[in-house]
Every structure is written in C-alpha cells, then in structure tokens.
C-alpha cells in the first residue's frame, strides 16, 4: 500500500475549450495513507472565482472514505465560491463512494467553547469546593443515618462482610506495618543514641523511643499505611462497581449501598486500626530495644524495667484513642471518593489518587488537632 504514488491534484486549463474552464486531474492513491501531503497543499491553494471546473478522476488509482472526503470537501468549496463543478471519468465504485459521503450529514466544525476568564475560573473553583464540602457532609449524614438504622435492626448487620474487611485491612497488613514500625523504632533509637551518649544519659533512649512511638508515630504510621493500602482499595472497588452499575443493582435488589459497602468498611476499620496500632507500638519499641542494645549496651531486661517506670499508661491510651478517628476518616474518604467516580476508567484513577491524598492529609491534620486537645486536657 505504501509503495503507491501519493494523491495528487494537477490543475491546468482544460484542453480544447474556452479559457474559463479549469481542469483538475486527480491522480495517485487518494487513501488515508496517501492524502497527508495533498491536504497540506490544498490549504495553501487559491481557487478560481467562478467559471467551470472539470474534475477528472480517470487516473485515480484508489479511493477510500478519507480520500473521498478530501475530494468532497474540495468540490463543495468550489461550489461555494460560485464555480460550476463537473466530475468526469470517475470509476462507478468511486462515484458511489463519493455519493455515500455526500449523502451524510457531517459535523466538520466542532464548536470550541471559549476559555473561561480568570474570575469565572475562580468562581467555579470556589463553587465546586463548597459543593464538594456540602456533598461530603451529606455523605457523612447518610452514613450516620444508615448506622442508626443498622443499630436499630442489628439482624441486618453484615458480619461476614465486616470480618472479610477486617481480614483484608487488618491481618493482611500485619507484615508491612510491623516491619515499617520496627524500622522506625530502630531509626529513632539510633538518632537519639548519639545525643544521649554525649550527656551520659543512655538510659533515656527508652523514654525517647517509647514516648515517640506510643503517643505519635505508631498511630500515625499505621493510619498512613492503611490509608494507602485500604483507603485506595475502597475507592477503586466502589468506583468500579459504580461504572459497572453494580451500585444501581444493589439498590434495585433493595440493599442500600451504604449498608452493604460503607458501614462494614467503617466498622471493620474502626475495630482493626486500634488493634494494628497496639501491634505497631510493640514492634516499634522492639526496634528501639534492638538498637539500644547494639549501640548503647542497654540489655532487654534493663530496657523493659525502664519502660515500666518511664511511660505512664496515659501515653499508651492517648495513642490508641486516635486510631478509631483515623479509621473513620480513612474509610469515609475512601468510600466517598468511590461514589464520586463517573463513567470512565480515568475517573477511577483520579478519585483513588484524591482519596489517598485527602485521607493522609486529614489524618495528619487530625493528629495535630489531637495534640492541641491533649495539651489542653493536660494529658
């Protein structure tokens, strides 16, 4: 196909007729592969202002719909300028193809909407922001109503779904959360060791590691990992179900999407995230213990003795108490974003990204808020 001569249009005065008649000879392959050059040339061509134009197609080697379109477009342009166009020598099958194109209503110029001004953009941004906030509150409200309904009818609680969610968000996350918090404990002890050694205060590494892990780092780290692992999965799952109309199917069967999809996820995560936090507390301190022994010669029994003295039980509880709130944030944002997916595969990706970014942002913001509240409560 590519070896064929490209499409050409030779223009000249028609032989043996008056000077007003122009003859155009179409040659070569007027196909999708052959018309690129011709199309560029046609743009620069100036057409005769009226008079007769004879289009000779006898030397066309082939014509496809793309070529026929170019020919059709040229003929129409000539007619619009007031020329009388006569087509001759076209093979019958090419003629019928040309007629087929001519018979269709073709939308050539797609209207391009004018780009909005900066004020309009700002307005739209503010509006979508406000609208999004309102929609989010509406979603939280709907979920609360579903929760109350569920409490009133405990027989409708989907324990199997909750257990399945606990498995995937909790038990399956044990290796990664444990390993990362172990490393974090290791790093904190290592960083602290240098400073503390200078003051001969080796034993205070226990305070450092334990306080940092229990109060702040372990709940935060766990929440962030779970937001990345499970929050994104919630969005992708609900989003895909929306694309495939499974959400509508659920409603048709008489099962609320909230009841089937959202509540079990929230319940499971609220149960599982505090438990995961306890586990990462342990692995984090374990990391600190290992580093303390290696770097500061603090043996495990000494470390544990000091742990008992140094840490008030309230430190442990303040850390754990954040976890259910983080869990709610992650599950709510993940599900909310899932319901916001519209039609396309790209939208699933977009909303999943937003879900992870927003839930991590909100988790850290909530953590800061907790710090203020705890200082205020003197905990």
């Amino acid at each position: 196909m590519t070896s064929q001569p490209a499409a050409q249009l030779n223009i000249g005065a028609a032989p043996a007729s008056d000077a007003a008649t122009v003859e155009m000879r179409c040659t070569g392959a007027w196909t999708v592969d052959g018309i690129a050059e011709l199309d560029r040339l046609l743009e620069t061509l100036s057409w005769p202002e009226r008079g007769e134009v004879v289009v000779d197609g006898s030397a066309l080697s082939s014509l496809d719909t793309s070529g026929a379109w170019i020919l059709h477009r040229t003929l129409r342009a000539l007619e619009r300028r007031g020329c009388t166009v006569r087509v001759q020598g076209l093979r019958p099958e090419f003629g019928s193809l040309l007629a087929l194109i001519a018979s269709r209503e073709i939308a050539t110029a797609t209207p391009v909407a004018a780009a909005p001004g900066s004020l309009e953009r700002l307005g739209r941004l503010a509006w979508t922001g406000l609208h999004g906030l309102a929609a989010y509150f509406a979603f939280v409200g709907e979920t609360s109503i579903a929760l109350l309904h569920s409490v009133a009818h405990p027989d409708r609680i989907r324990w199997r779904v909750i257990l399945h969610n606990m498995q995937s968000a909790g038990i399956d996350a044990l290796p990664i959360t444990g390993f990362l918090s172990f490393l974090l404990g290791l790093v904190i002890a290592y960083q602290g060791a240098d400073q503390l050694q200078r003051f001969g205060a080796n034993i205070f590494v226990v305070d450092l590691v334990a306080l940092a892990m229990l109060r702040e780092l372990s709940p935060l780290l766990t929440a962030i990992i779970v937001a990345g692992r499970s929050g994104s999965a919630y969005t992708a799952q609900i989003g895909t179900m929306k694309v495939t109309e499974e959400i509508d199917a659920l409603r048709t069967i008489g099962v609320g999407a909230q009841e089937q999809l959202v509540l079990p996820k929230i319940t499971a995560l609220v149960i599982v995230l505090p438990l995961l936090t306890v586990y990462t507390d342990i692995t984090g301190i374990l990391g600190g213990m290992v580093m303390a022994r290696a770097k500061l010669d603090i043996t495990f029994p000494v470390f544990l003795d000091r742990l008992d003295e140094a840490i008030a039980i309230s430190s442990y509880w303040t850390g754990i108490s954040k976890a259910p709130i983080f869990a709610m944030i992650i599950a709510l944002v993940g599900c909310y974003r899932g319901f916001h997916v519209t039609g396309s595969a790209e939208s699933v990706g977009e909303q999943t990204t937003m879900s992870v970014v927003q839930s991590i942002f909100l988790v850290i913001a909530a953590d800061a808020l907790f710090s203020i509240v705890f200082i205020w409560l003197d905990l």
Binding site: T31, L63, T65, L97, A107, V243, G343, A345, S347
Partner: protein, 266 residues
C-alpha cells in the same frame, strides 16, 4: 490497492486450517476449518460457549490456538508477535462486543486517536475524517463530542464501529454487532453492515446470535458446534440441513419467525 479493488485479489481473506484450541482439559475447537472469501459477509454462529468469540480472538491475534494454521490476507498469523502483527492489524478493524471505547475520550477522540497513531495527517483533517466515520455509521453529528458514558448502547456500538473503520480497513470483524440492541437499532445495524460492504467494498466477518441479522445480511454462515464447524453455506442451504444442531438452531420458534420474516421481505 484501493478498497474497491481489494476484492479483486485472489484467494480467501481468512483461511483457518486444522485449528485446535483447549483451555486446560476443556476442548474448544477440534480441527476447525473455514475460509472467508473477499467481499463477502461471513457469519459465525453457534450456541453460547461454542467458541465463536475464541475463534475470533485467535484470528485477530489476541490469543494463540494450541495448533493449526490461520492465514489472514495470505499471511500466517499464529505465533505472530505484536510488532509483526501490526501491519496486518492496520488492514483490519475490530468492533468489540461491548464497544471497548476508551471511556476517558470522546467518540470523536476515540476515532481520531487511531488516525493520530497511524497517519501523518494534520489535526484539522483528522477531525474531519473522524466526523466522516461517525456519520458513516449513522450517528448524529452531535455524537462526536460526547463521552461513551453519555451514549445509549446502540450508539456506543456505532461509535465502536466508527473507530474500527478509522483506517479504512479491508476487513472488518464484528463481535455480536446487535447484541443488547432494541429491534429498531438492530435493523439499523443490518442495513449498516450491508451498506458498508457495498459502499466501501469491505470483507466482513461477524460473530452473532441474531437470526434476523443472518437472514438479512450474511452471504455465508458457518455453524460452530460440537467443537467443530458442523455446516457452512447460505442461510437457505443451512436451513435445509439435516444436522440436528443446525435444525435446532433454525427451527426453534425464534428461528422460524425470523425465516418467515425474511421470506416476506423478498
């Protein structure tokens, strides 16, 4: 060769020889043979799970058979890599059963994307050609800027067909072109298939369940059953067949109605 000369070529467009397909222990095809001649509308029919779509996927090099030979335009395609298959794939268009339109692009962009990928045409003319293809499939002009999710099922099929036609293929594969359509839209597809063959000189191979479509549009029909081709011929020939499977297909209540309708129209 132009599209209208393409049919003048000698030899079948598609030739399947001694094809065997198995999924694990389940045998799908056992020594399947068939050939599609240039310029004909060839239909592949058979019950659910008979391996029609699998055969189609094997012909368009999406899935390899266990053994056997498939020649398209005279070239062996079994075992062809994606790179090696590209020149062939440019010569055929595929309309998938569920449309498989790119959901993040508009209909016009779906068609234009193929042209951007494979031609050196300018932006403007690509837009125009995309509009031509959209019009050829009978979609209204305002369908171009719409997203697939905004279209009805029938319009989505037509949009998918417009994309399959983007490069003016010589051979068109249609997987269940009328499945899930209302009778009116389905009738539109019958006419569309015939007008495409007549107007553009295409060879069309389709997989379908739709007896009306078969009576109205198909030149030749192959019946896939019991892991092989149990009959090939025109609809009239097949309707005289003694094979129980074919008789079941044609003389079930729906088959009879479609046949009567076809006679009435003639």
């Amino acid at each position: 060769m132009g599209p209208n000369e393409r049919n003048a070529g000698t030899g079948p467009v598609i030739e399947v020889r001694d094809l065997n397909t198995r999924f694990g222990a389940a045998v799908v095809h056992e020594n399947v043979n068939l050939s599609v001649e240039p310029g004909e509308i060839f239909a592949l029919i058979g019950g659910s799970g008979a391996g029609k779509s699998t055969l189609l996927r094997e012909i368009i090099v999406l899935q390899p058979p266990v053994s056997g030979s498939i020649r398209v335009f005279g070239q062996e395609v079994v075992g062809l890599s994606d790179d090696a298959a590209l020149p062939l794939r440019r010569r055929w268009g595929v309309m998938f059963e569920r449309g498989a339109l790119f959901s993040s692009l508009t209909v016009a962009e779906n068609v234009a994307m193929v042209l951007h990928e494979h031609t050196h045409l300018g932006e403007r003319v690509i837009g125009e050609i995309a509009a031509v293809k959209i019009a050829l499939t009978g979609l209204p002009p305002d369908a171009g800027p719409k997203y697939p999710s905004e279209l009805s099922g029938g319009m989505r099929k037509r949009a998918s067909l417009a994309r399959a036609l983007a490069l003016d293929p010589e051979l068109l594969f249609l997987d269940e072109p009328t499945a899930g359509l209302d009778p009116l839209s389905a009738t539109g597809i019958d006419e569309l298939v015939r007008s495409l063959r007549d107007g553009l000189g295409l060879t069309i191979m389709m997989v379908t369940h739709d007896l009306d479509l078969l009576w109205r549009a198909a030149d030749r029909v192959a019946v896939l059953g019991r892991n092989r081709i149990v009959g090939v011929g025109t609809m009239t020939e097949l309707s005289r067949s003694e094979d129980p499977l074919i008789r079941q297909y044609f003389f079930g209540p729906r088959g009879r109605a479609a046949r009567q309708q076809a006679w009435k129209n003639e």
